[in-house]
């Protein structure tokens, strides 16, 4: 299957590096001449607080025009709908500015998530492996919010189907079908080799299978220690002459724990694993993204 036909989702616990890996994957595609759209969970004004793309066009003039990063604010989508529904600007403005309307949108459970999913599906379908000539970009990546919000976002469509009636319920059913079809979705859970993050990865993988009939493509093991990829014999040699300094004690103990967790995770979740080493020093965020992207070939996973 052509991967570009699907929406690639980077999901996982908060702070595991979803944004960094999404942008690294996006930049990598862009450097290979593909047009990429990354839907970020950070408002663009705040994205640089997570990972900054400063200096992109100066440093990668060929890649820059291929990489699009957007944030979808569901409030804008709802406002668009109101504007479309009431072509008389006065009327639309009156509704959008009314406190009943704005408060209703804020507190209506799942409404914003529902609109967000609708737009994501639309972006995904508009793109086209089927029709490359009219397609604006080749790859679509969703840098998803942290697990809890990610799952409640995906479940919003199903909730609309279950709890409401009429056109909103029908739309909910249709969106839920789209996000439950593995022909449309490619899932990449991101996790460091830490207990809590791994537990969330297992929970998300399970929820995806039971609620959405989706299987993850590969688990991305972020910030891994060099000991995760070392050979058994090198580790044995190192342990033969132990170094008792606090720094080495920490680095070895932690690295070996990570290595053990990697094996345990493989036993509990039979998915391909990809090690993303912890980068130690980098000049700027772009530098970091290029180095991560170079070691992260996702096209190998189905």
């Amino acid at each position: 299957m052509n991967d570009s036909a699907r929406l690639a989702i980077f999901c996982g616990k908060g702070g595991v590096g979803k944004t960094t890996l999404s942008l690294a994957a996006g930049l990598q595609h862009a450097m290979n001449g593909h047009r990429v759209l990354v839907v970020s969970s950070h408002p663009i004004s705040e994205l640089a607080l997570a990972v900054s793309l400063d200096g992109l066009s100066a440093r990668f003039p060929q890649a820059a025009p291929n990489l699009f990063v957007i944030y979808i604010d569901p409030r804008d989508l709802i406002a668009d709908l109101v504007n479309k529904y009431f072509p008389v600007p006065m009327m639309a403005k009156k509704i959008l500015n009314s406190s009943v309307f704005t408060n209703l949108i804020e507190v209506a459970p799942g409404l914003k998530e529902f609109f967000f999913l609708g737009r994501l599906q639309e972006l995904s379908e508009r793109r086209g492996a089927a029709n490359p000539a009219t397609s604006a970009y080749d790859y679509l990546i969703w840098d998803a919010p942290a697990s809890g919000h990610f799952l409640s976002t995906l479940r919003a469509a199903k909730n609309f189907e279950v709890f409401l009636t009429g056109p909103m319920a029908a739309a909910g059913a249709q969106i839920h079908r789209f996000f439950s079809n593995r022909k449309n979705i490619q899932l990449f859970p991101v996790t460091p080799l830490e207990e809590m993050a791994i537990a969330e990865t297992l929970d998300v993988a399970k929820a995806m299978a039971t609620d959405f009939d989706l299987t993850c493509s590969a688990v991305l093991l972020n910030c891994a220690s060099p000991l995760c990829s070392a050979t058994e014999s090198d580790i044995a040699k190192m342990q033969a002459t132990p170094d008792s300094s606090p720094a080495m004690h920490f680095a070895v103990e932690r690295g070996l724990t990570e290595r053990q967790r990697m094996v345990e995770l493989r036993e509990r979740l039979s998915l391909p694993q990809l090690l993303i080493p912890r980068i130690t020093n980098w000049a700027n965020d772009l530098d970091l993204l290029v180095r991560i992207g170079a070691g992260m070939d996702l096209s190998q996973f189905s």
């Binding site: 709908l81 509704i95 009943v100 009429g166 170094d243 606090p246 080495m248 920490f250 724990t257």
Partner: protein, 345 residues
């Protein structure tokens, strides 16, 4: 009574740091409680908390004071509020309302509302210190905006008017209603469908008495959070995020009038280096550790230069070899809090 509110993004170990802060104070003789609002419920593992909404004491050997822990259980807190504040005749109607189920099931929104409700409940229970662990987000401070928004909405005369008129219109069989706010309501209804808007308004008309009392309590709680004699906000971060998080959260706190007191840099790799040279894999591991360690030190110094003047204190905690899970790991963190690490090179 003092409140410490920990804010920070995901993956910085905020829950563990909050629990360790409470533990350190309990060891020193205070009656302390840590409240976690984290849906991942990490504190549950760390403090071996059982399900249920009520706080419980955590046995700590050799502590002069007491350590208590509480989980924010959104569903239980909300059900409890309904049973406590709604008219008996309305209780079942609310608990079985389709919108109530959706609200209670969606973490977005209710989490924030119930956090403030829970802080209010706990402040009456005679603790010397309460440490609050907020939801892991750059927008965690919304926790303290949303209740006011919700209160305004439930409070709004328009909503009450609409609900009443809606009931009236429904009773006399009218499908469209009058002017002003009601006109807007019918427009909104035209877009989202009768069902959804009707259900939401119907729900709020039932929920109103709860929201009314809630709104008064929320306003009081938020006022206490702004009082520097009672509350201190603490930014928890990690080295790679320290510079940006420090600046961002201090600015957000300032905007909302919340007092900032501490930046706590967790998970630093500042362990003492070996004196002898290593070889083979050991050398590779050590070089790797040293490079990370240097980047951590540089980040802490940069953050201190930029944000140090805006807080009472900057604390640096070393990362533990293993994940913080048992009480033992919290003890190690608490000891680091009691004996501040000197980090200048």
């Amino acid at each position: 009574m003092k409140l410490a509110v920990c804010v920070g993004t995901g993956g910085v170990g905020k829950t563990s740091v909050a629990a360790a802060m409470a533990l350190a104070q309990a060891k020193a003789g205070a009656k302390c409680l840590v409240l976690t609002t984290d849906p991942a419920l990490r504190l549950k593992t760390a403090l071996r908390l059982k399900d249920g909404m009520y706080e419980q004491q955590v046995p700590v050997e050799g502590a002069k004071g007491e350590l208590w822990a509480a989980l924010l259980d959104v569903n239980a807190t909300l059900d409890d509020a309904v049973r406590l504040h709604a008219k008996p005749a309305n209780q079942e109607k609310i608990l079985k309302h389709p919108i109530y189920r959706t609200i209670a099931n969606s973490l977005a929104g209710m989490q924030e509302l119930m956090a403030v409700e829970r802080i209010d409940q706990l402040m009456r229970r005679g603790f010397d210190n309460i440490v609050v662990d907020t939801a892991p987000s750059r927008h965690a401070l919304d926790t303290f905006d949303k209740p006011v928004l919700f209160a305004d909405f439930s409070d709004s005369k328009k909503v009450r008017l609409i609900s009443r008129t809606y009931k009236f219109a429904e009773a006399v069989g009218l499908t469209t209603v009058g002017r002003g706010a009601i006109e807007i309501y019918s427009r909104v209804e035209a877009i989202f469908g009768t069902n959804m808007v009707k259900q939401i308004l119907d729900f709020y008309s039932l929920f109103y008495p709860i929201a009314e009392g809630y709104s008064a309590r929320a306003r009081k709680t938020v006022a206490l959070l702004r009082d520097p004699k009672v509350t201190e906000f603490r930014v928890v971060t990690i080295p790679s995020k320290a510079v940006r998080d420090g600046a961002f959260f201090l600015e957000e706190l300032k905007k909302r009038g919340f007092p900032a007191g501490m930046i706590c840099v967790n998970r630093t790799w500042l362990h003492a280096m070996p004196e002898t040279a290593a070889a083979g894999l050991a050398a590779e591991v050590l070089d790797w550790y040293r490079a990370v360690s240097h980047s951590h030190l540089a980040a802490i110094e940069k953050m201190t230069a930029a944000s140090g003047k805006d807080v009472r204190e900057i604390r640096v905690l070393r990362e533990l070899e293993r994940d913080v899970e048992g009480l033992e790991s919290l003890r190690i963190l608490a000891e680091q809090l009691e004996n501040p690490l000197k980090w200048t090179s």
